[in-house]
Symmetry: C2
Subunit: 183 residues, 2 copies
DNA sequence: AGCAACCTACCTATTGATAGATTGAGCACT
DNA sequence: AGTGCTCAATCTATCAATAGGTAGGTTGCT
């Protein structure tokens, strides 16, 4: 295992943590360097600019998120929905962290162009996944539009739920929020 | 009319705009100064520090938001809910803007202490208002806990809805999201 | 030798903030 | 009426800290 890959990964891990807790505009190369144990110039070797680092982190996050979900037809409808919610819940439980792309979505007007594109992709892919799940629910025949509406609502509820939970009593608030969705 | 009050207001207006579009960490005193037409040093006369400015903006926002809503028992249940949703919708329509406290909620871990307190108050007061509205719905007798759950869900849906809408097709996405709530 | 990986050293731009001078309107006293 | 004082409000000029980024040297493995 090459030490390059390790360092790149460590840099991205640190960046992801900062973005998800404080936002893209609230961390510096010096923060990352201190965490990883290297100098700021070394970060530029792996990622030419902060925008490149941010985009790489967002891409990796989206990939890993969807990979963890798996195909939309692997489990039953109820299982898929609760698995999706659990993905957001675990996001929070790992240290009051936002969904990375939820944070980027909030900050979108202050992001470099390449990051805007990547963070949009997260939402598009998530909605497509959810659409499939809702359409697969065999006991009612809903239209694509109805499925999309349900997808949007669940996605928004979870992204907003993370914000509200962080501002209030944390996990307890989030669990109260989603309890109806799991019933 | 004193020119002091005007300048303070202009500063707060500019700051609110920046926070709601780009976030607290993505604007500078120079941005504000340029917009208002003064020098950065003059901002410090009205607001000693950036944290003071941010807290003042958040307090004013919360006040104005609740004032616009009025007492929770003034209109019918359906009217109050649709008025509440409209408050968020108009938030977006005025230039892709987030709810100010939704943005601050996302950034909360990177905010100065006094701003954290103020932005929490927005959510607490909003939830109390919504609780009252849901409890006032006469045709079903729900518990305080059930009302709180509904309040949390609507608040999260709208905050998250703004994020998702900003990342996708804007207003159309937001309207799709809330249509069920208004039906 | 060659190259990936990381370093030292430095740069320019920008950040929030401060000290102290200037302006001008309102008020008091003669 | 005119002179001088006060004070709010804004300015000029500057600060130390920090931002992202770059040039070029060092290290160590293959």
């Amino acid at each position: 295992m090459s030490s390059t890959a390790d360092t790149s990964t460590k840099i991205m891990d640190a960046a992801e943590g900062y973005i998800r807790t404080k936002g893209y505009n609230a961390f510096s190369f010096r923060d990352i360097a201190a965490d990883v144990g290297i100098k700021t110039a070394s970060i530029h070797y792996h990622f030419p600019s902060k925008a490149d680092l941010g985009a790489a982190v967002a891409e990796r996050y989206t990939e890993q998120f969807l990979e963890a979900l798996g195909p939309p037809d692997r489990y039953t409808f109820e299982e898929q929905i609760s698995r999706y919610i659990a993905a957001f819940r675990s996001s929070y439980s790992s240290g009051d962290q936002m969904c990375l792309c939820g944070m980027l979505g909030a900050e979108i007007s202050s992001l470099p162009e390449n990051m805007i594109v990547v963070s949009k992709v997260f939402f598009v892919k998530n909605l497509l996944w959810l659409d499939q799940v809702y359409l697969s629910k065999s006991d009612d025949n809903i239209s694509i539009e109805q499925a999309r509406q349900k997808s949007l609502r669940l996605l928004a509820l979870l992204e907003g739920g993370l914000i509200v939970a962080r501002s209030l009593d944390g996990m307890a608030t989030f669990d109260q929020l989603i309890s109806q969705e799991l019933a």
